[in-house]
Symmetry: C2
Subunit: 272 residues, 2 copies
């Protein structure tokens, strides 16, 4: 099954565009969880079980696992194995923001798609399509290209004007018209920039966007929904990380995360 | 000691601008090495011992270790530990091509600079200075920003014209004039593009460039040297990976790597 087919199915089955960001920063875990043998995995497992019915996707950010060395990589692997076994219908995204030159990307492709077994990965555009071929040629996987990121300083390069258009629009156009021949590309567009989201939706047909920046980063759900939905009343994977997983840092963290995910689902579905 | 001071010292002591890229792709290791308990580390150790007198820096590319899972990360750690203990004067670069949004970069900073203990890392510019602050604020470490990469398709975005200048030049100008307040920034400029290298040298004073693309990728040493040297007859870290470490895949691989590194050193020093 293609990435998009898997996504469409879970969006329908769970009636959800919600993605929970498993940014399980060790320092922020509840004290009781920190003492466990596999703290990041234990935390993720509890969060996943409490939120799975409300989501279409999970997105661990690689940095929070790498910062723990081999142990972190092991717990990331345990997390993705748990997801694949217990919730095989839910889409998995490794937020790794990779991109190297051609031959070297093969190492990342092997690690992310084959060793870990993620359905998709986030990628930097700066080295161009030729460099990203080892990712793009994987028809079964999703390639999620950074277009307009959610951070306050995103515009430094992304707003530079090229032939009368901002660079982020050029990135979007290239991905839409040239990079997507295997129908496996998505774009990252931050919820913190609804005007840009609207603009990119206009030029990209029904392509799916990964939309970070709601919740802790301040992106507004109503604006995001009005700007970003596609013609099929979908086309967005709307991510919240800290706002869900760290909503409580007490024993009830998983229960509270479940409630927050449910709340986000309802807030989103109000505009669908 | 700052990154630049450490680099200046080893460039002087070893009279070398050579960097050996430890792109120790498991599949390409000699058969005898593949059978060892820690094949990537064993290979690196032998390569390092055979080449250390000819180099100023070592640059493992993270992808080749990540592709081996936890084991690869462990062998990357063993490699950097070996370098720091046995050759503490030689500069270490993790070619990881990272960049996330601010708070997330802290995870990468901890992993690369503190857990592994590298002197420097390669970084994507697309998210802007604000996002990269956790790296840039580390005065003791080198931040090596992708500017003009060595791959054939590098120009897709990097040559786009912004205000009459190619994007790679805008990246260089921003790094030189705005990002480098801690005097810890470098630029990646591929040896496969000597004209661009010349242009970037003209505008960047004595800033050091990491220069990949000689050897297997086809960059010419004479052209590179004429285009890239700074006013101090240095200012480049010239990397060769496959051309040195995989020059032989037989038992004599380390000896041959030593000879190739020496040859590259001589080829470079002919133009200094």
């Amino acid at each position: 099954m293609s990435f998009q087919a898997k996504l469409d199915l879970i969006v329908k089955n769970n009636n959800s565009l919600v993605c929970v960001g498993l940014d399980s920063d060790f320092d922020k875990l509840p004290e009781s969880v920190k003492k466990e043998k596999y703290p990041q995995f234990s935390f993720n497992k509890a969060i996943i079980d409490a939120t799975a019915q409300y989501v279409c996707a999970y997105k661990p950010n690689s940095a929070f696992y790498e910062s723990q060395g081999e142990k972190g990589i092991q717990e990331l692997k345990m997390t993705i194995d748990y997801l694949r076994n217990k919730y095989p219908g839910i889409v998995t995204i490794l937020d790794a923001k990779r991109a190297d030159i051609g031959s070297t990307n093969k190492g990342y492709v092997e690690f992310i798609f084959d060793y870990l077994g993620f359905d998709s990965v986030t990628l930097h555009p700066y080295l161009g399509k030729e460099a990203l071929q080892p990712f793009l040629m994987r028809k079964d996987k999703g390639c999620i290209i950074l277009c307009r990121t959610s951070n306050p300083g995103a515009g430094e390069f992304q707003d530079l004007v090229v032939n009368g258009k901002p660079l982020y629009q050029i990135v979007a156009e290239k991905v839409i018209h040239d990079w997507n021949s295997n129908d496996n590309c998505l774009l990252v567009v931050g919820a913190t920039y609804p005007e840009e989201l609207k603009k990119i939706r206009k030029i990209s047909g029904d392509m799916t966007f990964l939309v970070p920046g709601t919740g802790a980063q301040g992106g507004d759900i109503e604006e995001t929904m009005k700007a970003g939905l596609n013609s099929k009343n979908a086309g967005m994977i709307i991510n919240s990380s800290r706002g869900i997983i760290f909503a409580s840092n007490k024993e009830d963290f998983a229960e509270v995360a479940g409630k927050e995910a449910h709340k986000l689902l309802n807030a989103i579905n109000k505009y669908r």
